[in-house]
């Protein structure tokens, strides 16, 4: 990309205040995720006792029996809420980002192959399979997969799966069909262009045509979609955690933290109920606004397409 074009795109991106806000928040969350262990005041499993000496949800801005001041209080097991939120963000983000990027890579691979060999038996089989998978709502598919594999670890050959790995796998399984469809869609018109025919005439092997000639010209759409899916991935990860299908204790995860909220109903601790949900919302907001912004920059014609799952 040359400089002038880049500047135009950059200005368009900066022009939308909401998008800039989303970008800043997303960046902030990334920093929190990366430097989580340095930023968190306490460990995520460290338990504190309230003045009474019992394990209780400690209120916001209260001091423990041992004199530590907990900014956001503690959960019902006396664990510092702020630290758990920081570590939880880290877990949620690692799961979301790795699943979306794995799904994207897989989709680029499958989409370019099916697009290049459009109408072949291979294409027909893959697309039918994808149609069937698309029938399911994403989160449901994830629930079923996590359920089937169990939240305890399973041995598959040399690797023992962790619940986190199972969720990543389930999310990859959910996102790949949609991303593959997009990738195939942008590959097909390119595959019929003359420069591909020229490469065929030169005797270039098909894998080289796909890898070096075709794919680099078809990536825009799939990358835009992947960005918007980041928000969705956070949503799904948190949703699974909320359902109790997330990482095992004591590992924190945003949805898991939120799932404990009903324990605070009795004492009417509003902040305990508000903050975890707000964190998830903020994260989803940042990613979806950022995704929309990137799409508006690269594809100003776009208006609405079924924002699925």
């Amino acid at each position: 990309m040359n400089k002038a074009r880049f500047r135009i795109l950059w200005n368009r991106f900066i022009g939308d205040k909401l998008v800039v806000l989303g970008g800043v928040i997303a960046l902030l969350f990334l920093v929190i995720a990366v430097f989580g262990p340095q930023l968190a005041p306490f460990g995520f499993a460290q338990q504190f006792r309230a003045a009474a000496g019992e394990l209780l949800p400690i209120d916001v801005m209260s001091t423990t029996a041992t004199g530590e001041r907990l900014l956001l209080g503690s959960d019902s097991l006396g664990r510092d809420m702020l630290s758990r939120l920081i570590y939880g963000t880290r877990t949620t983000l690692v799961i979301s980002i790795s699943s979306v990027s794995m799904a994207t890579i897989l989709a680029i691979f499958l989409g370019s192959l099916t697009g290049y060999f459009q109408g072949s038996l291979f294409d027909e089989i893959v697309m039918r399979l994808i149609d069937a998978l698309l029938t399911f709502p994403g989160i449901l598919l994830a629930v079923i997969l996590v359920a089937a594999w169990g939240t305890q670890g399973i041995k598959i050959g040399p690797i023992t799966t962790t619940p986190e790995l199972t969720i990543v796998f389930a999310l990859v399984f959910t996102f790949t069909p949609r991303l593959t469809r997009t990738m195939r869609g942008s590959t097909i018109p390119q595959a019929h262009r003359a420069y591909i025919k020229a490469a065929q005439l030169m005797g270039m092997p098909f894998w080289r045509i796909i890898a070096f000639e075709l794919t680099p010209n078809c990536l825009t759409a799939v990358i835009i979609q992947a960005t918007t899916y980041l928000g969705l991935a956070v949503f799904s990860t948190a949703g699974l955690g909320f359902l109790g299908l997330g990482p095992a204790e004591p590992q924190p995860e945003l949805g898991k933290i939120l799932a404990r909220t009903q324990e605070y109903f009795l004492n009417r601790q509003f902040w305990h109920i508000f903050i975890p949900g707000f964190t998830i919302s903020l994260l989803v907001f940042a990613f979806s606004v950022l995704g929309d912004g990137i799409r508006n920059v690269l594809d100003p014609e776009f208006r609405f397409e079924e924002a699925d799952v």
Binding site: L18, D131, T135, G239, T261, G277, F304
Partner: protein
């Protein structure tokens, strides 16, 4: 193409997907750790049960024979038995009530989402860039980001815990038995579901109607000084196809949302059922739920497609 032919073709094209769903459902048992017997017997299965399951499944037969036997059972309404949650009860019997509950929940949620969403969407399409339009943009982004299960928790906290309203509790929905309680049970879940998705509905409606209202005849009505009420009516009339898209889309979204919201309110629908099945590893039930939910989604897509074909002959090509 005639309408009948179009409908017939849509039905035929749904068949391969349906077959693949059955593969997925059947295959679920085989991708579990420990294989089908462990999966079906669960943690609490006795050795006798395991032997019986092995015999019933005929695990020594080739896979396709097992599949055909299973499919035959499905067609005769035999989905197997519960083992962990309610030992010995046929699954088919257990499914009816949760399905009805979720159905009503979806309907009520979609009603809220459509009422709020269509209203805001139509109003902001009429006056683009007004304060209402900005408000609709902000709320739609906000509601897109707010998880419906969190909204449900907050509603439950505010109305159930702080105000202690009797109607804030939710339970079994069965209009043939207890109408008042059923309606009560619907209020909060429907609001949680509906409000969380109303923003998206408003956004789509605005976009679709914005196109319609720029057509010359609407502009003409404007110039004529016809009241907004009539202009909106005509716009909706011409935007009926986009509205159908919105409708189908909303119902899908709400149906997905019910799973998590049911867990929050403890409403005994399919979602809660599914989560319990997942947690207790009740595989036969999970298997059935995959099949049932997959079929529901296929039928929903089919219905939207057919509605499309009825409303717009151009689609039938």
């Amino acid at each position: 193409m005639s309408l009948l032919k179009y409908i017939g073709r849509r039905f035929v094209s749904a068949i391969p997907t349906l077959i693949l769903i059955t593969f997925l459902s059947f295959g679920l048992l085989y991708i579990t750790p420990g294989g089908p017997v462990e999966a079906l017997a669960g943690m609490f299965g006795t050795p006798e049960q395991k032997v019986r399951i092995r015999q019933e499944l005929g695990l020594d037969d080739p896979v396709h024979v097992q599949y055909l036997r299973w499919i035959k059972g499905v067609f005769s309404g035999d989905f197997g038995e519960m083992i962990v949650m309610a030992p010995g009860t046929p699954i088919a019997e257990m499914l009816r009530k949760p399905l009805i509950t979720t159905f009503w929940l979806t309907v009520a949620g979609a009603l809220v989402a459509l009422t709020v969403g269509l209203t805001i969407g139509a109003l902001s399409a009429i006056k683009p860039n007004s304060w209402l339009d900005s408000l609709s943009r902000v709320t739609s982004i906000a509601t897109y980001s707010i998880p419906d299960f969190w909204l449900a928790i907050i509603l439950l906290f505010v109305f159930g815990v702080i105000f202690r309203y009797r109607w804030a509790i939710s339970g079994k929905i069965d209009f043939s038995r207890n109408v008042v309680f059923s309606l009560q049970s619907l209020i909060l879940p429907a609001i949680a579901l509906g409000l969380a998705k109303a923003g998206i509905v408003a956004r789509i409606t605005r976009g679709e109607l914005y196109d319609v209202q720029n057509k010359p005849f609407i502009q003409f009505e404007r110039v004529m000084g016809l009241p907004n009420r009539i202009v909106i009516k005509d716009m909706l009339h011409n935007g009926i196809l986009p509205i159908v898209t919105v409708l189908g889309y909303t119902i899908g979204l709400i149906f997905r949302g019910t799973f998590l919201v049911e867990v929050v309110f403890g409403t005994p629908g399919i979602g809660l059922f599914l989560v319990r099945a997942a947690k207790t590893q009740e595989y036969a039930l999970l298997q059935t739920l995959v099949l049932v939910i997959g079929t529901v989604f296929i039928l929903m897509n089919l219905l939207t497609d057919i509605l499309y074909g009825v409303l717009d002959p151009r689609v039938r090509t």
